[in-house]
């Protein structure tokens, strides 16, 4: 049986042109949500249909693609999307951040600093930062148009009134290029400072909501805050248990039902790179011990 043949990168050329136009407009107006005619993709909404369409539109045969899901290269979502483009576009794929030219991400920015030749594509579930404060889309668009962003601070005010500090930990609102308030997709606020003045182009695609927005390279991105409650990135106060990194974003992994837990880098490529370079954490020998046991048992 013949394998089905696809157009390069799955989408037809007209669709890619339409998406590229939206991307160009988004780059021209940093932070502005550009509507686009989102297509049905062979995956459910919520699995990155927006990001996949943006990636498909910008991918060229010479590109090297990396896909991460919560920082990890080896989760179902990341592997499926990587395989999808390996099959439909025949592009090279990688897990190494510095080898990639296009990085599609769900909720993290790689720890390794990005450069000018890279494009970061975010999968966005809810592009509208004002959504849960003002349910009317007509009204939020008007508020964006008139730069009426007092309401955004109402949310931060509520956080402080309720919890004593700004408790928003992800999807933390930012102001792009001193004009549009933008939802940076549900990245942890730890990553917000990396968006500011970033050399790489950052594109955001929301498939279900049919919106594309962008942060061009070297654009100012400021996290909203109060003078007396300034923005603070959050990180668990521990080194990575596998590579000992003190400054990377950590995932908490519960290891038993007695309250034990370990903290490991959420960015698997960064963590593996450090381990290969000889860095150790408190638990880094554990996997090798298990292997040794297997050998002795078998």
């Amino acid at each position: 049986m013949n394998a089905p043949t696809y157009n390069f990168a799955y989408l037809d050329e007209q669709t890619k042109r339409m998406i590229r136009r939206a991307i160009l407009k988004a780059i021209a107006i940093p932070g502005y949500q550009v509507p686009f005619a989102s297509r049905e993709m062979p995956m459910p909404y919520g699995w990155g249909t927006g990001g996949v369409q943006v990636t498909a539109a910008i991918l060229g045969p010479a590109d090297v693609l990396k896909v991460i899901d919560q920082g990890s290269d080896d989760t179902t979502n990341a592997i499926s999307i990587r395989k999808f483009f390996a099959k439909t576009a025949g592009v090279a794929t990688t897990t190494a951040t510095d080898e990639a030219t296009v990085i599609q991400t769900r909720h993290r920015i790689p720890e390794t600093a990005l450069n000018e030749s890279q494009v970061l594509v975010y999968q966005v579930p809810i592009p509208e930062p004002l959504r849960f404060l003002e349910p009317r889309e007509t009204e939020t668009r008007r508020m964006h148009a008139l730069a009426e962003y007092g309401l955004m601070h109402v949310k931060l005010y509520e956080d402080i009134a309720r919890f004593g500090h700004i408790a928003t930990a992800y999807a933390y609102p930012v102001k792009v290029n001193a004009r549009y308030v933008m939802d940076p997709s549900p990245t942890p606020k730890f990553d917000n400072p990396k968006m500011d003045n970033c050399p790489a182009l950052q594109l955001f695609g929301a498939g279900r909501e049919k919106r594309i927005y962008a942060i061009p390279p070297y654009t100012q991105v400021v996290s909203l805050d109060f003078e007396d409650h300034p923005f603070e990135p959050y990180r668990f106060n521990a080194p990575c248990a596998l590579c000992g990194a003190e400054n990377s974003y950590l995932d908490e992994i519960v290891t038993d039902d007695k309250g034990s837990r370990m903290f490991v880098c959420s960015d698997t490529d960064y963590c593996e790179g450090r381990q290969a370079a000889g860095h150790h954490g408190s638990l880094s020998a554990a996997p090798y011990k298990e292997k040794a046991q297997e050998v002795s048992n078998g």
């Binding site: 007092g150 601070h153 005010y157 402080i160 009134a161 309720r162 109060f226 007396d228 409650h229």
Partner: protein
């Protein structure tokens, strides 16, 4: 402000010039003209369907008149036609120099966010960026409208009707507007709560030297709060004058009917 600039106060704050509004064949409002001066309270009374609310919406720039125009003297002293204002300017005016008290507080408040944030929203909208100061101002205003400061973090949906209405007033007055529109502010409240609210409104209006346009069908409210009364019927203003004069010595048969239909205390 009144003391600082007596000359400026000789000029009207708001001028309505032969305002008319028709919806198809229905003339909701016909040829209404008046001038409102700073610190003056004008009551618009009349039965349901007499065009009061349409008039209020036109005056506050929410509805474009079919004919005539509304001019407002901005804070910089220049009188401008409301229709020539851009949307951004009009919305800015609405959340700084104007207030709008709805009959139903749920329309004027954000029911799901705390009272403090409700009062602080206008301040944040004009660029206040200091949590402590916003909160202090909010508590100060809650005290002024007689709401227990301990309830600053409670959402208005946990408030009683009277408290909601007072919170709505605080939310509107926090930017020290010069003109407040009120649409039946005491409707739906029981009599003792109404009396307290009116008392509060009267003292705030005097203290802040507010100009108020209040729409009501309750003549007692008009008598207690307003300096001048406009009586509307069928979209027209049929009688206008000082409150005491109109209510004690009504000339038009309809006004006489309206006044005589109040039960004697």
């Amino acid at each position: 402000m009144a003391e600082q600039n007596p000359v400026e106060n000789d000029e009207p704050l708001l001028i309505a010039n032969s305002l008319s509004k028709s919806f198809g064949r229905i003339h909701a409002c016909r040829d209404v003209s008046f001038e409102l001066y700073p610190g003056e309270v004008l009551a618009i009374v009349g039965e349901s369907g007499s065009g009061k609310s349409t008039l209020l919406q036109m005056l506050s720039g929410q509805l474009a008149p079919s004919a005539g125009r509304v001019s407002y003297r901005m804070r910089d002293g220049v009188t401008r036609d409301l229709t020539t204002l851009g949307e951004a300017e009009r919305r800015f005016l609405f959340r700084t120099d104007w207030g709008f008290v709805h009959q139903d507080p749920a329309q004027g408040l954000r029911m799901a966010v705390s009272a403090g944030a409700n009062v602080g929203e206008r301040l944040m909208a004009v660029g206040w960026n200091h949590y402590g100061r916003i909160r202090d101002t909010a508590s100060d205003w809650l005290t002024r409208v007689e709401i227990d400061v301990a309830r600053i973090d409670d959402a208005p949906r946990t408030y009683s009707g009277g408290m909601r209405q007072r919170l709505q007033i605080a939310r509107n007055l926090v930017t020290e507007p010069r003109l407040v529109f009120m649409d039946e502010p005491t409707g739906g409240l029981d009599v003792s709560v109404q009396a307290r609210l009116l008392d509060l409104l009267r003292s705030l209006v005097a203290e802040l030297h507010l100009a108020v346009i209040i729409v009501t069908h309750d003549l007692a409210v008009a008598r207690l709060l307003s300096h001048r009364v406009m009586v509307m019927k069928g979209g027209r203003v049929i009688e206008t004058g000082l409150t005491d004069q109109v209510l004690d010595d009504p000339r038009e048969p309809y006004t006489q009917l309206l006044v005589s239909s109040i039960l004697p205390p």
